[in-house]
């Protein structure tokens, strides 16, 4: 169905893809994996000709979909053959209501009115969004928006669906919904799907094939259990397979559980549990009855929260549960009611410059803080803002392990590098509490590992660290304490081990494999193996 024939694509002198050839068969679900910056988006864009027609890369070789070559046809002529869904559905919406958005593609193709009416109804049912048909797109939740975006390209009845990290912004349940919808499309309609996804643990059980981009310009295509065994991108089950010496990666929790049972792997009882709140008697931050209202919506509803120095806490919960509002309120930038004390002061009553010495926040869209032309200028500006000697921020940046080119434009940095830069800028003010809002979005496994190390280091230096994330694997790995929010309330607060193993939605895969044992990571499995 999709045929890459000796394809080379590059944006400058260095090719991103170098003489790549492969064929994806009709009706396959092909999972595209690779580190950040290995060319996943470029490869996906090449399937319908957005690369090079739209992005202006140089390209050699030939890409054919169902025999149609992107050399001779611009992307718009692939609209009835390839449906393309990006990371941020809202950015790709052309109209304002669900029904109109679904019809938009067909209007452009000149589909006749009665046929169009019928197809809109079919598509609404197919994606299970008929009850949303008259809703305005901006009022939908992230998961709903992503399903509408998929419906909108499906209405043109393409044979191929290309999805670029469709779940990166979604909470675990919404992501599950979207992925379930995608797999049912493969099974029920026989669509060919090419899917790029960072958190492989969610989709690899459904994949027929895995296409791995090692990052050197080549591409490796093969069966999922085989390719994942040697790919540099290591989902938890692959890590487990490596730890336990299995040569095939189990693709689902069920497979892994069966294998564990068959091999009679038993874990020793856990060693003495590590105390989660360090000995410090008084908390560094204490919020009592903290409430945030946006108009008549109560985003944070009377939360009581203590944070201690020297620990990493994860904040989890659905999209819209109030995580970001809580962070902004703790920083003092968002008006709130209730009492808030950080180290004896209320950040809401302090000047912004003093408040950031108490609480530093790395917001979800970290780029909002950057406005200068180069990394070096941003660092100098940050030293000035914090009243620190020249070179402080750069030193911090180096300590964070990001080797940055100082004259690079901040917009040209990768997600991980930009995050490191903003974190360094915030750390320059040496805040007691460091808050990170969804930093794991768009990070691959090695970068997440690096981030976990950075957070542990910050905690050991006496900062109190809180990180909000949808990534349960990251939470299990990086934090000692987990707080779960729902509708502005704290619904669970305790050691990560207990909170994350207690609920299936927030349990990491390793915990599910060894349930009812309370293990979170493969490192633990290795140390407790009998």
């Amino acid at each position: 169905m999709i045929q890459f024939d000796d394809v080379t694509i590059g944006y400058g002198t260095e090719p991103v893809l170098d003489r790549v050839s492969f064929t994806i068969d009709d009706g396959d679900l092909c999972l595209l994996v690779g580190a950040t910056g290995s060319g996943k988006s470029t490869l996906l864009g090449a399937i319908n000709g957005l690369v090079p027609h739209f992005t202006g890369a140089s390209m050699a070789g030939d890409v054919r979909v169902d025999g149609r070559s992107t050399r001779q046809h611009p992307p718009r002529e692939f609209a009835d053959l390839v449906g393309f869904v990006g990371q941020n559905p809202l950015a790709g919406f052309v109209t304002d209501t669900v029904e109109d958005e679904i019809a938009y593609g067909m209007e452009q193709l000149g589909v006749e009115a009665t046929a169009m009416r019928k197809r809109v109804e079919e598509t609404l049912d197919l994606m299970n969004i008929a009850d949303l048909r008259r809703r305005a797109l901006v009022t939908l939740s992230g998961g709903q928006q992503q399903r509408v975006a998929i419906a909108a390209v499906l209405a043109a009845q393409p044979r191929v669906l290309v999805l670029d990290e469709p779940t990166s912004a979604l909470d675990p349940t919404a992501a599950q919904d979207v992925l379930a919808a995608i797999t049912s499309l493969v099974h029920d309609l026989g669509l060919t799907v090419v899917l790029a996804e960072h958190r492989l643990e969610r989709v690899m059980q459904a994949a027929d094939q895995v296409l791995w981009l090692p990052g050197d310009g080549s591409a490796v295509l093969g069966a999922a259990s085989e390719v994942l065994g040697r790919a540099s991108v290591v989902p938890p089950l692959a890590e487990l397979a490596a730890t336990l010496g299995w040569d095939e990666v189990p693709l689902s929790v069920r497979q892994a559980r069966r294998k564990v049972a068959a091999e009679r792997i038993v874990l020793r009882p856990a060693a003495e549990a590590v105390p989660t709140t360090p000995a410090g008697p008084t908390p560094l931050l204490r919020a009592t009855g903290l409430t945030v209202r946006h108009g008549d919506l109560t985003a944070v509803d009377g939360i009581n929260l203590d944070l201690h120095a020297g620990s990493v806490t994860t904040l989890m919960g659905r999209n819209g549960a109030g995580k970001s509002s809580l962070f902004w309120a703790l920083q003092g930038a968002q008006p709130s009611t209730g009492s808030l004390q950080v180290d004896g002061h209320d950040p809401r009553r302090l000047s912004p410059a003093r408040a950031r010495e108490l609480v530093g926040l790395v917001p979800q869209t970290a780029a909002d803080l950057l406005h200068l032309h180069t990394v070096a200028l941003e660092c100098q500006q940050s030293d000035r803002e914090s009243g620190e000697p020249v070179g402080t921020t750069e030193g911090l940046l180096r300590r964070l392990g990001a080797d940055l080119v100082p004259d690079r434009h901040p917009r040209d940095l990768s997600e991980g590098q930009r995050l490191a830069l903003v974190l360094a800028i915030q750390l320059a003010a040496s805040p007691r509490i460091v808050l990170l809002d969804e930093p794991t979005r768009g990070l691959d496994y090695p970068m997440k590992q690096q981030l976990a190390d950075i957070l542990a280091d910050l905690a050991s230096r006496g900062h109190g660290v809180v990180v909000s994330t949808h990534d349960v694997e990251f939470a299990a790995h990086a934090s000692q304490r987990t707080v779960i929010l729902a509708e502005g309330d704290v619904i669970a607060d305790g050691p990560t081990r207990e909170v994350c193993t207690a609920s299936p939605a927030f349990a990491p895969q390793v915990a599910k494999v060894f349930h009812p044992e309370q293990v979170l990571t493969t490192a633990e499995v290795a140390s407790r193996r009998g």
Binding site: N48, L50, H53, F54, P74, P75, R76, E77, F78, A79, D80, V82, F84, G86, N88, A91, G92, F93, V94, T95, D96, A103, Y104, G105, M106, E107, Q108, L109, G110, V111, E112, A113, M116, R117, R134, V138, A152, V153, A156, W328, Q331, A333, Q334, P352, A353, R356, L361, P363, T365, A367, D368, L369, L370, H371, S382, R384, E385, S386, R411, Q426
Partner: protein, 354 residues
């Protein structure tokens, strides 16, 4: 009627509102103006949906009040009409010679105030008519129903409509984020600190939107071969004819007939040209609004009201332009009531918007 009827065509509401505005513009009689205003307000309250644009009608009422207030205040302070019974006298200031003719303050007369009030009311009624159209017609649906020739233009406006709130949102976000860096920057630096991330965000979003539109087939059915030659010539010619015709009509005495002929020819050429250029795209429309007898009735009702007032103008022009010197109570002509009733009549054939 049990069956759910389709929402009224947005352009029907615009037609109704503009004709109603034309009707009030013919008169300064406050009784007729207020009656028509009440009829328009009644239709809006009965037929608007609770969409954001429909809620904006309150803003138009406020604007209308402000206009009346400004008109009356101007009359009180700057005068203009100083005949009739004096209400009170303000201290007078005479401006120097180079501004001769302008007097501030002085006697304020009942006739002057009434004149200003009638004038302001008429303007306020026109504003309310426009506000009514805005509240009743979904602006996006209105744009969707433009001739095919203007398709790209309407797409651009629709996108601008959705990008504007996004820009506001990102402006708000970036401003809030500035506090996280201490918010120390001043002057030009503070401006760039907000503008640069907002603009970068906007450019990035536009690129994503463009990629999405491109991969969903935008512009795919464009085929200039279907248009035929001489289209540009036709369109330019039509604009020239319309301009020349208007000039003849308004500027040159005794050439009304020639002017009208030019104008009609120009409009015909424009319609033909737009139809032809619409052919280069063969996109289709999903559930287009239909123009049924209801829509015709909506516009016809307002037109009938206009005709009633025009007839009245022929018969008895004085009743439409009541005198304020001396200040007398304006007379209520029996034909005012059917005129206002006709403006309100569309409630009978339409349904509340969704």
């Amino acid at each position: 009627m049990a069956a759910v009827t389709a929402p009224t065509h947005p352009w029907a509401w615009w037609g109704w509102a503009l004709v109603a505005a034309a009707t009030v513009s013919l008169t300064r009689n406050p009784l007729l103006v207020v009656l028509v205003m009440a009829a328009v307000a009644f239709v809006v309250l009965a037929r608007r949906s609770d969409a954001p644009w429909a809620r904006s009608v309150g803003a138009y009422f406020v604007l209308a009040l402000v206009i009346v207030a400004i008109r009356v205040t101007m009359q009180v302070f700057f005068g203009g009409l100083r005949e009739g019974p004096v209400l009170f006298t303000l201290p007078e200031v005479r401006l120097p010679d180079w501004a001769a003719g302008i007097r501030l303050g002085g006697p304020v007369t009942l006739s002057g105030v009434l004149f200003a009030l009638y004038d302001g009311l008429r303007l306020a009624a026109i504003i309310i008519c426009v506000g009514a159209a805005n509240a009743l017609a979904n602006p996006r649906r209105a744009l969707k129903n433009v001739p095919a020739a203007l398709h790209e233009l309407s797409v651009a406006v629709v996108i601008a409509l959705s990008v504007a709130p996004q820009l506001v949102e990102s402006l708000h976000r970036v401003r809030r984020a500035r506090r996280l860096r201490g918010g120390a920057a001043k002057g030009w630096r503070a401006v760039t600190a907000v503008l640069v991330p907002v603009m970068e965000d906007a450019v990035e979003r536009s690129m994503q939107l463009a990629a999405s539109m491109e991969s969903r087939g935008f512009g795919r059915t464009r085929d200039l071969g279907r248009v035929g030659p001489g289209l540009s010539l036709l369109l330019v010619g039509s604009v020239l004819l319309v301009t020349f015709g208007s000039y003849l009509l308004l500027g040159v005495p005794d050439s009304r007939l020639a002017g009208l002929a030019c104008l009609a020819l120009g409009v015909a050429a424009a319609v033909l040209g737009l139809r032809r250029s619409g052919r280069r795209l063969s996109t289709t429309r999903y559930r287009p609004d239909r123009w049924t007898w209801r829509e015709t009735a909506v516009v016809a009702a307002a037109t009938a009201a206009l005709i009633v007032v025009l007839v009245l103008q022929g018969w008895n022009p004085a009743v439409l332009q009541p005198t304020t010197t001396p200040p007398v109570w304006p007379s209520l002509h029996p034909l005012f009531l059917p005129a206002a009733a006709l403006v309100a009549a569309p409630v009978l054939v339409t349904e509340r918007g969704r």
